[in-house]
Amino acid sequence: LTEQQVLHSLLQQLGLHQVPVLDRADVEGLAVPAHVRAEYVALLQRSHGDRSRGK
């Protein structure tokens, strides 16, 4: 897995063609709401349990 593959997959999932321009001010003090964190943790747990058929 390469850095480019991760970037390509993220752009594809977000429907973007290029990396968004964001600077430090945009994210400084940005809090992650509980429901977003809960969604993230749930996906994380499921992905550890999930087994795609791969091959």
Binding site: L1, E3, L10, Q13, V19, D26, Y40, L43, S52, K55
Partner: protein, 290 residues
């Protein structure tokens, strides 16, 4: 019977109509999880044509003296209904006699997807005219396959299962973390960490995770010596591949209308869960209908 080191699997004809036969093979214990099915071959012994019929055949052009043999996998559903899937079909000469081989690998693949306890492997063998309408009406009835208990008892239907022992031909799970690069010989899953914080493009965009264990499949796979009965085109060597992967959830920042908000996104197939030795170009088993 035709291979030095595989036990024979004799089958029985359950019901027999002039042109359709139903074969049953008991499969339990034949394909334990430690063995990978490579190919399954059905061998049927085509009985010689009686002399009188042979004389009649002499008058036919070669083209007309053929019949189509079709093998279908028969599945009996829980509700008692059944369905068939086409597995193999080809023309045989009515004049021939002896063993005919059919590739029934897909039938065994289907059977392996059944829920336990599994029914026996049911194969429906039908013999049809080569071309509907053309040639003598019943020429295909001269194609007869030996059943169990016939004169030539050793000519009963045979199912040949070519399998590989995954102890030798499979992957070995996770690599030994102590083993250096040069020590890794056999296909295994090795830890590799991707540091997202070290990636310029991720700055201020990817909030979680800071990095993750991606793993990779390294090492090589043992190649089987035995040539297959049916040569599949495009079949390459056995390779060490990621046979199971998992998604990677992330939290990214999304800027809309001057405001920035965090959002969850999931990237498929980002982490390797399992490495396996698999044939490049091998048949991908058709999924069983529910």
């Amino acid at each position: 019977r035709f291979s030095q080191n595989f036990r024979e699997v004799a089958g029985r004809f359950l019901a027999s109509e002039a042109s359709t036969h139903l074969l049953v093979f008991g499969m339990e214990q034949r394909l334990p999880p430690s063995r990978e099915l490579v190919q399954a071959v059905l061998r049927l012994f085509q009985e010689p044509v009686p002399k009188a019929a042979l004389r009649r055949l002499e008058r036919l052009p070669t083209r007309g003296a053929r019949a189509r043999v079709t093998i279908e996998w028969l599945r009996v559903r829980d509700d008692g209904s059944n369905g068939t899937s086409l597995i193999d079909s080809r023309l045989v000469s009515v004049r021939e006699s002896g063993w005919q081989a059919f590739d029934v690998t897909e039938a065994v693949n289907f059977w392996q997807q059944l829920r336990r306890p599994r029914q026996p492997l049911l194969l429906q063998v039908s013999v049809q005219k080569e071309l509907p309408g053309a040639g003598p009406a019943d020429i295909h009835r001269l194609v007869r396959f030996a059943e169990q208990g016939t004169r030539a008892a050793r000519a009963e239907p045979q199912l040949e299962l070519h399998t590989l022992d995954l102890q030798d031909y499979g992957a070995q799970g996770n690599c030994d973390p102590e083993a250096g690069e040069s020590k890794i010989t056999r296909c295994c899953r090795r830890e590799t960490y991707l540091d997202l914080q070290g990636m310029k493009w991720a700055e201020n965009w990817v909030l979680e995770p800071p990095g993750f264990l991606a793993y990779e499949c390294v090492g090589s796979c043992l190649q089987p010596p035995e040539p297959l009965t049916f040569k599949w085109p495009f079949l390459g060597p056995r390779q060490c591949i990621a046979s199971e992967t998992a998604a990677l959830p992330m939290i990214v920042s999304i800027k809309e209308g001057g405001r920035t908000r965090p959002q969850v996104v999931s990237l498929p197939n980002m982490r390797v869960q399992k490495c396996s030795c698999a044939w490049d170009g091998a048949l991908v088993p058709r999924a069983l209908e529910p």
